[in-house]
Every structure is written in structure tokens, then in C-alpha cells.
Symmetry: D2
Subunit: 138 residues, 4 copies
């Protein structure tokens, strides 16, 4: 599996809010997003949904990468994001670490940090591993 990294999704939601993926393996995925006004809620803080979205994307790409060779795909089951400290400027950094690789579900822990490496949000992502529609076993 080869990646020219960092890469920036051009299409879809990841492109809209500006995710850049800087590292991908089935154990660890890293990404970052530049803060801009379009990512904020009315009080001027980065919207909590941005953190949840980044976490979802990193955990999903890490799982999908590992299971697609076996004709399977990854679908988010549950995203639990805790908001610990607001971010108002700079860059949002995210790192997803695998906690559990089961046959039917994978669990990732995603840490969101700011420019000063302070923990700002924490996500537990549960990703379902399913047959890909159209694969022989589905």
C-alpha cells in the first residue's frame, strides 16, 4: 500500500472543511486542519463537529486501508467525542491510535491537539468491518 503523503482529499466533506492526512497505517493515522472562520461556531471557537468529523475520517481510512484487500469495507458505528479545551486559531492536529482489531469491529482512540500540543478533544471511534456490497461473500 503506497501513499504519497501528506495528501489532501479534494472531494466530499473532508475536502470541504480541509482535512490533510499526513500519516496512514492500520495502527496509526495522523491528520491536520487549518483553523479558519468557516470552521467556527457562533462564539468564535472551532465547532465541536469539526473534531468529531476529523476523528471519524482518520479512523475510517485506517480501518478501510487494512480490510479492503480482503474484500471488506469500513463503516462508522459510533463516534463519542469529548470536548476538553477550545481552539480558536492555528492548526488542529489529530492522531488516531488503534485500540482493538476485532473480526467485526475496530476501536480507535483519537486525540485532537492544538499548536501547543495541548489535548483539546478525545474521540472513541467504533468502526464496523462489513462485506463490501458486490463482493463474493456479501
Amino acid at each position: 500500500m503506497q501513499f504519497e503523503l501528506p495528501f489532501r482529499p479534494e472531494h466530499g466533506f473532508d475536502g470541504l472543511y480541509g482535512l490533510e492526512i499526513t500519516h496512514v497505517s492500520e495502527y496509526l493515522v495522523r491528520g491536520r486542519v487549518a483553523v479558519r472562520d468557516e470552521l467556527k461556531q457562533p462564539d468564535g471557537l472551532v465547532h465541536g463537529g469539526v473534531y468529531a468529523t476529523i476523528a471519524e475520517s482518520l479512523a475510517s481510512v485506517g480501518t478501510a486501508l487494512a480490510v479492503m484487500a480482503g474484500g471488506k469495507t469500513a463503516m462508522g458505528l459510533s463516534n463519542h467525542t469529548s470536548f476538553l479545551r477550545p481552539i480558536i486559531q492555528g492548526t488542529i492536529y489529530a492522531q488516531a491510535t488503534i485500540k482493538h482489531r476485532g473480526r467485526s469491529t475496530w476501536v480507535w482512540e483519537v486525540e485532537i491537539t492544538d499548536d501547543r500540543e495541548r489535548l483539546c478533544a478525545l474521540t472513541r471511534m467504533t468502526v464496523a468491518v462489513r462485506e463490501r456490497p458486490g463482493s463474493p461473500a456479501s
Copy 2:
């Protein structure tokens, strides 16, 4: 408190993905988002982060509206979104219902449905009620 509804936030993240708020009270908040390709993940489904974001916005606006008269503000503490059924087209509907109004935390249950009124995602939002920076009691 008066609202000319529906209204559509023009700025910030809610404006970027296209939230339209159609009902607001401190007990119930409703909104909707038109599906478009920019809201999808690579498999062509609406990105899970979109559901989490909508839920966060509705619960926050409902809480903020009720507590701001007392000089307080609302900040998301935790967003737990379960993904039940994918959406690929049409409109995303969301309804936030208050479950608990405590002194320091409010809990909302948010149901996300599709055009056929099927439950597609379910969020529990915990919102902290805090002194507003600059208010006399903060």
C-alpha cells in the same frame, strides 16, 4: 425570544455545510440539511461527522437560548453519535429533545432521520452551562 424561522446561519461551520434551523425552544430544536456531494465520505454516503455536527448545533442553540438571559453560555462537553442507517440523497432532518436540565449540564437526545422518516443516527449531547466570560459572576 423571537425567531423568524426557518433561518439559515450564514457564517461559520453551520453556514459551510448548510444547516437550516426550523424550530427552536429550550425543549425542542429542529433543523435540516440538504444532501449534496460536498457532505459525503469517499463511499458516497453522508459523512458521519455531518450528523454529529448537526446534533451539536441544535443542542447548543437550544441550551444557549435558555441560559443566556441569566448571563450564562453553553459549551459542548460530549457528543456521542451512533450511526444506524446511511443517507445518500434528499434531506437530513434532525430533532433535538431535552432529557435533563441540570444546573451545570444539560442532556439532549437528537434523532436524525431521512426523507422516509427512518432513524439514521442518534446523538446524546451533553452541554455544559457556564458563566459567560465577562459576566459579573464569572
Copy 3:
């Protein structure tokens, strides 16, 4: 499927803390537990783990009941319990309501109330539906 209700599990953890199940269907399960000192944490409140445990039992029995005829079994995947109001005496009432019945996961919402019908805890239980070990399809 027949139940002589209410029934009280005699063995295992449910027997130890004293669960009594008063209603079971695949849509709704109800139970109750009498508060006693052995269920409390050091400050004299009912231990949060008691609520989480009751919710887990009700959602699991409701799912298992519905899927066992098809040779399947139910296993808890995730239990997210929010604590809203302490209970110190009387009876703990719990009601599990089905929110989603998928092929591989079921989601229940469990409300815990006290003698005055106040909402004291709220659980989202995600239950996996799996082949029963030893069944033909497993």
C-alpha cells in the same frame, strides 16, 4: 415465548445486586432493584455502576429473546450511561426501549427513574447480534 413475570434472576450478577424483571418484549423491557447499602458508593449514593449494569441486563435480555429463535445470541458492544440525579433510597426503576434493530447491532435507550419518576440516569446500549457458538451457521 412465555414469561411468568415478575421474575428475579437467582444466579450470577443480576442475582447478586437484586434485579427483578417485570416486563420483557423485543421492544420494551422493564425492571427494578430495591436500594440497599450494599449498592452504594462511599458517599452514600447508589453506585453509578448499578445503573449501567441494570441497563446492560435489560437491553441484553430483550435482544437475546428476539434473536435466539434464529440461532443467534446477543453480546453487549457498548454501554454509555449518563448520571443525572443521585438515588439514595427506595426503588430503582428501569425501562429499555428499542431504538434500532439492525442485522448486526441493536440499539436501546434505557431510562432509570426513582420513586418519584424523576429521570436519574440514561443509557445507550449497543448490542451485537452474533451467531451462537455451536449453531450451524457459526
Copy 4:
């Protein structure tokens, strides 16, 4: 703060199911529970509520220990436990690690392992720090 460790709570719920606390600090708390039939669900696995309860106790004691000198107390706000692998015998080991120490909420990550050091459950505990009833500031 002195502890003669390991110690075993004699009273309350922790005494009933058999928690033994083997390490306590405001950053790290460890405990263990011997598996016995009274801790199991009907299929013969340790009941998921046991893991949730252990996690709740460790995170609460770690928080309470740190804040009680300042006249405050700890109350569980939210317990989200994911079940990764069943345990049927031996000893349940738990380790709570602090992730965030805020003014009003602390967040702990609790890992539950078995005799072979495999990760069996994972809990995120959010603990509220509140004025102790009767303290001058409450």
C-alpha cells in the same frame, strides 16, 4: 495522603463484587477483581456491568483523592464502556489513566485486561468536580 495498599473496600457495592485497589494517585489508579460465578451474566461471561463499575470506582477515587483537600467532591457524569473481549475466569485487572484535569470535569481512560494482558474493555469516565455539600463555598 497515605494508603496501605492493596486495600479492599468492605462496604457498599465495591465490597459486594469484590474490588481490590492496588494503586492510587491523581494520575493513575489500579485495581483488580477475582472472577467468580456471582459476577457473570447468563451465558457464563463476566457481566459487562462489572467492567463499567470497576472503571467508575477507580476514576472516582482518583479524582476524589485529589480534590477533597480543596473542599470538593467527585461525582460521575458519564461512563462509556466498550466491550472488546469476554472474560470467563481468572482475574480482572483495571488501570485508570488521567486524560484531562479541568476545573469542573476530569476525564479518565480505563483499560480492563485479563490474566494474559489482553484488552477486554475500555471505559471513558467523565467525573464532575463539585463543591462538597456543607463546605463553605457550596
